[in-house]
Structures are given as C-alpha cells and as structure tokens.
Amino acid sequence: MLTARLAERRGGFNLDVTLEAGRGTTVLVGESGAGKTSILRLIAGLDRPDRGRIAVDDAVYVDTDAGVWRPAWARDIGYVPQDYALFPHLSVRDNVGFGLRSMGLARRVIGSRVTDAIGLLGIAELADRRPGTLSGGQQQRVALARAIVLDPRVLLLDEPMSALDLQTRRTVRAELRALLGRLPCVTIYVTHSPIEALLLGDQVVVLERGRVAQAGSRDDLLRRPRSRFVAELIGTNLFVGRVGRTLAGVTALHTADGDLVIADGPTAPSGDPADIFATVHPNEITLHRERPEGSAQNLFAGPILEVVPETPAGERVRVVLGTTPVLVAEVTRAGVTALGLREGMMVFATFKATGVRLYS
C-alpha cells in the first residue's frame, strides 16, 4: 500500500494531492502540466516535496513534518522513465543487472535473476545488444525488466507508451496489461491517454492542474464522472446542479448555466444542498437547423465548433457545439449530410428529460 500526501509550489505550478494505491495498477491520468511526472519523481525520491509524507506499507520515505528523508537509492521502488534512459554504454544484460549489482548480490544470483527477467519480457535474445541498436518497443521491455528485476514494492511507469509508434502501442498495451496483472507490487502508471487509463487502471486518479479531480475504479469513472474534465476525457456531457421542485410532473435541475428538465426520480431530496451530477450521452442529443416545436425538452442553441468523424469508419460523427455549456453530440454521417452540418453553422440541440442520467 502506497500513501502519498504531497504539496509543492514551483514557479506558477501548485501541486497538492493525496493518493492511496494498493496492489494492482493505479493510473494517474491528466493533461500535460497536470503534475503526473512531478508526482512520480517525488515518489521515486528524485525531488523533494515542500511539504508531504510518502509511505509504502510501514516504511516512511518522506515526512517533512518529522524530518524524514530517504534518498532515491534507498527506496524500494522500480522506475521506468518516459524515455527509458537505458545506459548506452552497457549491454541489455548489464542494464537489467545494474540495480542488482548495486545491491551487492553475488554474481551468480544476479545472472539468474537477470535471465529470469529478460525471459519474462521476451528479450533474452537481445542480452548482448547495446540499447542504441534496439527498437522503441524493445527498449521499453529492457527498461521494464531493469525495474521489475528488483522486485520492487512500488513500480513507477512514466508514459511508457509515449516513445512508441501507434502500431507498436496497440500490441504493447495488451502485453503490458497482462504483465502488470501478474506483478505482486503497487504499480503507478502515468499517462495522458484516457484509453490507457481505462484499459490498464484498476484504479484511476484523474489529475487536473496539480489536483485530484476524481479518483475511483474504472467503472466509477465511466458511470459517474464528477468533473467536466473527466466527462470530456470519457466523451460525455456533464452537468452539476441542485434539484428543484417537481411541478406538474416536471422536475428541474438548477445548474450554473440554467435549468435542465429531468425525469428521473432524483437521488437527493429536493432542496438538498449537495451537488447532483447529471450526464447526457452524446447520442441522446438531437440537432436541428430550425428551432424545434414542443416544450418538454431541453433546448440549447449555438454554433458548431467542430465536426469530427469517429474511428473506425467515420459512420458516427462527433459534433462539438459552442453552446453554454459546450455540448458534444453524436450523429450519423447521413444525419450530417441531411442537415448540411458544418463548422460555424448555428444549430439547436435538444435532449429529452429521460436522456438525463442523475447521480449524487
């Protein structure tokens, strides 16, 4: 179990997070500058926090209040930096055995543990090669082997896919998932990719500008996003507000951007001061060129900001609207053609009260 409470102020960047990670993979996901790499470096012992405490099981690595500081080399961690940083002057075998040698183990023990590790990662045949002659995917495996051969209690992976091309990434992701699932340690995996976060993370921690925007299981994140950033990450529309009174069978959700009409029996009693979250899936949203008739629907108006065909075949198209708040609609390609949708065009977006999913 890793617990970390970290506060750091550097330049214009403020980091203030509390993390708990148990056995399995915890993914830290966020955009560039969210503080992901800073957190890894603090856990690894490469930087010192202004204030904070880091502990792994019963071992305290940092406690600024108690004046505890354990340097990087005395921590029970494995670290795979973003660019792998394989030592260019050493063979694959010596790279992987580097840490074991520092631990002062017998040559024979080092040899057999290195052989096991490079076998596990399928790079035994590269043992005598120099890192400069390896492909990106092979370098990644060497860096992983070098870290996990130490049997660390905490394994830190910093954007391990970012140095790989797209094709390699797909195969490596599946292999990495299988590998991480077998490791007995706490794994902290940093990425800016929502796909990797949802695919690899048993637990997902969403970071936004140095703070934890949401932390929870993968399912929790998918079903109950709690910030606009998370909603955007998983591609849905989020509203936050308070439930108003029900009048003539119509209930209102008061949000900062106006009222929504909702049908669902609200989970919190009317007038409860706690925030209620509401998601509207993009395919619940209908687009119109003219203001539609009828009134029992939620209506927004605004210009089209983006029209993005979805992979793989572009049959479905995401339309981003400059409404307040910004909405994402998903329509068919035929629909785009029929309505003549293009960027800059003014449109009306509607969704039914039954299309709003509520949770507290």
Partner: protein
C-alpha cells in the same frame, strides 16, 4: 562556386599544408633511419627520453588526481563566482610558460612564499625532477579540467536519476554511469594534457633548470643539441614526434567499448 573562389580555397589549403605538414616531413626526411637508431644508444638521449616519459606520466597522474574532482565539481555545481574561478583555472593556457616558471619559483623557490615551509618538510622543488613534474602539471592542468568538465556536464541528468532509482548511491552513480559516459572527453583531456606536459619547455627550464638526467627533458635536450649539432637536434625531435604520435594514437583510437554516438532517440515531451 566560381573559379576565383576555387582558386582561393586551393591556395589557402596549400598554404595550410605547407605550414603544418612540411616542417614535420622535413624532420623525417632529414635523418636517415640508421642515424636515428644510432642516437638511441647515446646515453644522454636515453636519459632525456626516460626523464621525459617518467615526468610526463607522473604529471599526468597528478593532473588526473587533482583535476578530476575539480572537473566534477565545476560540471555539477553552480555557485557565485564560478565563472571567475573557471577563468583562473584556464589562466595557464594563455600564460607564457616562462612566466609560469617564474611564478612557480616565486611560490616554491628557496625564497618563495611556500619555499621555506617545503624545505622544512624536506621537499625541494626547484632544480629537481619533482620540480619538473610540478611545472608540467601546472601548465597541463587546464587542458584536462576543460575537456573533462565539458564531458561530465554533457552526461544527461536522466541517466543519473535512473541509476539512483536502481539502488545506486551517488558515488557508485559517478563511477558506473557518469565516468564511463564521459570517458571519451576524459581521454581526450588526458591526451592533451599529457602532450602539453611532454612538450613543456619554458616553465621547466625556468623553474627546474637544465640538468642532464635530473631536469633535462627531451625538449630541453633538443634545444641544447641545437646549439652545436643541428642533425642531433633533428634526430631527437623525430623521436619526440614519433613518441607523441604513438601515445596520441593509443589514447584516441583505443577500443573503448563505447558507442560512437550516444543515442538520444526519445526525448521526453512534458
């Protein structure tokens, strides 16, 4: 390129060849190999050669022992006045060697600032072989520190960071990562400072004098021979030339087991 440019370039190239290569070739063609071999048996020559090898090896060892920690410190630390310190360390590069010799006398001579203290300890530098080594180390030091500092500073922090996360304390990180990665620069610095020590003349003759077998190194022997016998001077020069070339070749071409270029394929995008 136009014709005038081509001609200009050719003329400049030819002039360069004349300036650099012609004197060396002239040295080699002037002495028949037989005469050269004969000189090897001259005890005066053997003494000078041995003295040159011993003192330049010793001064290079001193340079490495004192220069490596300094180079590491300058490569990894910033402090106020660092630029000034670097300029002072480089001073022997531009100082006329005779001035260096006089300065050494002023410091370590019998009447020098530290001279009496050293004498009380039984250490005599002026006009001794030890003095030759000190003079050589004084003038050669900046060559080693300059190249080594640059090499150490170029070692990327990510390698040092990663090594630290692999249970490796700072001293071992230096020995197992920083030093090997900086080794080409370190060897280049060693070669340059050794070459400078081998060729040392001005500071040596000023500080240590010109005593055969004690302080008369090869460059001094060449100069003395020149007073009476040009051919003898040429023969000695050829030996010195061949010796320098051999050591340079060994140091620069030795298989170091290092990659020619350090790959930096994947830079972090943060």
């Amino acid at each position: 390129m136009d014709a005038a440019g081509t001609i200009g370039l050719a003329v400049a190239g030819l002039a360069l060849v004349c300036l650099l290569a012609l004197p060396l070739v002239s040295l080699l063609v002037r002495v028949p190999p037989g005469a050269l071999l004969e000189r090897w048996r001259d005890p005066a020559v053997v003494n000078a050669l041995r003295l040159s090898l011993v003192t330049s090896a010793a001064s290079t060892a001193v340079v490495i022992a004192l220069g490596l920690p300094a180079a590491w410190f300058l490569a990894t630390t910033t402090f106020p006045g660092k630029r000034l310190l670097e300029v002072l360390i480089d001073l022997p590069l531009v100082l006329p060697p005779t001035v260096a010799g006089v300065a050494l006398l002023a410091a370590f001579g019998r009447a020098g600032l530290a001279g009496s203290t050293l004498a009380a300890l039984g250490v005599h530098l002026p006009f001794t072989t030890l003095g030759v080594i000190v003079a050589q180390a004084f003038v050669a030091m900046p060559f080693f520190i300059g190249a080594t500092r640059a090499g150490l500073a170029e070692v990327e922090q990510r390698y040092l960071d990663t090594a630290a996360t692999l249970r490796t304390p700072p001293g071992a990180v230096f020995l197992r990562v920083m030093l090997p990665l900086a080794m080409p620069s370190l060897l280049a610095g060693t070669a340059m400072s050794w070459a400078r020590a081998l060729g040392e003349f001005g500071a040596t003759i000023t500080f240590a004098g010109n005593m055969p077998g004690i302080t008369q190194t090869m460059p001094l022997a060449v100069y003395i021979a020149l007073q009476s016998d040009l051919d003898a001077a040429v023969a000695l020069s050829v030996m010195l030339l061949l010796l320098s070339l051999a050591v340079l070749l060994v140091l620069r071409l030795a298989p170091l087991g290092l990659p020619v270029t350090v790959p930096r394929a994947h830079r972090p995008t943060r």
